[in-house]
Amino acid sequence: MEQTLPQPAHVHAPPEGFLWKYVFSLDHKVIGKQYYGLALIAVFTGMILSWLMRFHLVWPNAKIVGLDLISKTGAPGGVITPEYYLSLLTMHGTLMVFFVLTNAPFAGFGNYFLPIQIGAEDMAFPRFNMMSFWTTAAAFLVLVLAFFIPDGPPISGWTAYAPLSAVGSDAGPGLGWGQNLWAISIGLFCIGQLLGSLNFIATTLDLRTKGMTLMRMPICTWAWFITSCIGLLAFAVLLPACLLLILDRMAGTSFFIPSGLVISDRLQNHAGGSPLLWQHLFWFFGHPEVYIAILPAMGIVSHVLVTSMRKPLLSAKVIIYSMISIGFLSYMVWGHHMFVSGMNPFSSLLFSFPTLTITIPATILTLIWLGSLYGANIRITAASLFALGFVSMFVSGGVSGFFLAQPSIDIYLHATYFVVGHFHMVMGVAAIFGILSGTYFWFPKMTGRMMNETLGQLHFWFTFIGTYCIFMPFHYLGLVGNVRRYASFIDDFMPALMPVHKFVTIAALITGAAQFIFLYNLIHSRFYGKPAPDNPWDGTSLEWSIPSPPPWNNFGSKHPVVYHDAHQYGVKGEKGDFIMQDSPETAAG
């Protein structure tokens, strides 16, 4: 019978030519790798920025060789000025939160593996997908451009609070074109993410293969799906917020700027705006954003743990429902970033309750992971070590959140290093561990080669111990009242704390250097790694049923049929103690 209907969007011909194969590819696998590669560049850039920051905090008068070539005004004679420290801080946060933590676990691995895990040959809208990546890449270039303009990058932090970010260069260096580039970059990033989220949602709902009910999807597929739902609403608020900011800066509007401000001896020509409006819009996005950063990592870790433990989690359904409730609650808590911001103190209490409540699903997840380890037979690999490390980091980061969720304690701990320790533990370490676990786990599938396991485990030990050495002391510093975002520590009580800061800096430099072990492993294994079998970890989900690396249309000419969920482990199967999702055999007993 002739096919008279038009081909669905996700079905496309195999690519030909260098540009269509590797640059403007419509293939979700290439796009996933492109996102991952972008995140890799962003994370090493962000890491080097953090080195410069940590170095400057403990050796403020050090002349850093070559830095004055990058910025003559920012680092005259190689000495970092206070404003350059703040631009490093701003760019570090912006790069890490947006271009690493939203890119790699969600757009990177999600793009690569979501279609495969549900048995589809591509995302629902491959052209949108390609456009999302290139919009994101453009956003990255626009942001990085800020380093090379005369006045430098913005100094208002990744949170860009108004009016500092809205009034322009009167308020300080970098707040002219630097801030404009930031706002444009983030606006572009929002567009890329919105397109991506639409794609993920449509794909998950429409393109599941026969037998792949929603509840049979692997947990990490669910995580990506929930993340894209959160992302759709969150980025839809950040985009207009950036537009309003750009209008205030360039078109003379006053959404965020009240009247009567005197900056640089000049009365600002604005009236009627509210700085708190920016905070509400930003954090309405900003809080769900941190769950966008961690949910995919939770999904990846659940996925890796199940395969590594050789038994299913205690209840995949409970995990999925907990993740859904986290996603839902994440929209009700944004005011906990604003307890002392000047908003109505009664609102602070209102925001505090859902913030404390979100601890329940987070604790359920942690207890399920912990409880599932009981009676398991854990295979220790670099991937499973990072997954286990994630659980530890998530506990550490979550526990410190409990302090900050209470407004009365936040009076004391707000804007101290306690907060910096908290969010680095959950985002800067736990989420990164999720990405690293996924990398070691899926590298064989993506490249057809194994990574070096010894180097991978060495990388784990340095990173696990190193990140605890860096971020645990931040909590102690915060308890003493060490304020954050300071370019230098000149308060009277600070000299006594400098040894702690020195310890952290040295730990950061060593841990950072160890990441090059990972980079070397990644690149070397890509070309010289041992050839990988289709299913090196004895996994059950659909990605392990296809060759390593997969062909351009994933499953060849036929679509798989699915008979089980992805947790058939610890059973007697033909291939061992597991049964793959597309295998019609049933578990004996």
Binding site: A162, I263, L314, L356, T363, F402, S408, V483
Partner: protein
Amino acid sequence: MGKLFGVVLAIIAIVSAYPIVAHWYVQPVDISTHGHAIDEQLADTMAEAGLSFLGAQLLLAFFVWRFSQRKPGSRVWNIPGGATLMVAAAFILVGTEILALGVLGQKAWANVYFTPPKPDAMQVQAQAGQFAFYFRYPGVDGKFGPLHPDKIDEGNSNFFGLDPANDVESRDDVVSAELDVPVNREIQLLMHAKDVGHSFYVRELRIQQDFVPGLDLAVHFTPTQTGKYEIVCTQLCGLGHYNMKAYLNVLSQEDFDKWMKQKISEQ
């Protein structure tokens, strides 16, 4: 390697908890009337958090130590109680914590924000501007003169934009770079932002409140001990943010009166 993970994690957990248990890094002495409730809340939360932290990390360490790299083909089994036990434990543990800390802890917040200042509280205006704090006392007439942003002349020490030539109430206003207050007297701090967002933070007072341009905010507190304390800005406000501080001097009533007399003679 699995055993190593268990051992290393256990060490990390204990080493991390030790500085807290040994009180190496604690808040400075509390010099306010409302701070005790906050400190108690912090201590209670620390106990709960500490137990949860140690419990979870040591459990994770033990499970990985015990259940990793066993003989291939070993039996795997579920923890008795399964998912139901975990969900119940989460609800009970966290639920009680939320009730205890969240509900009971409201009082500490209410002490600061829901209790209005006494009618005889001493009013001082604080202005935060890039990158210093300045304070204004109403002077002998007890009234603050109006502010005129266009009259600000910092080189001439007119930080607030007062117009004493035309505004009679401004003539006796006392402007100071330090916040001097008498001990055991309730102070109401009226907060005015000159340019961008700033924040007022005194660790010992257990007070932190943002200055928001365009909003008239106020905090009130009663200092209970004399001494010199640092006021630091905690809201990123530009390149000099790290250098934005002032001193809070809590004086005996006698010393405060002497200081005020001196300041009035300088105006």
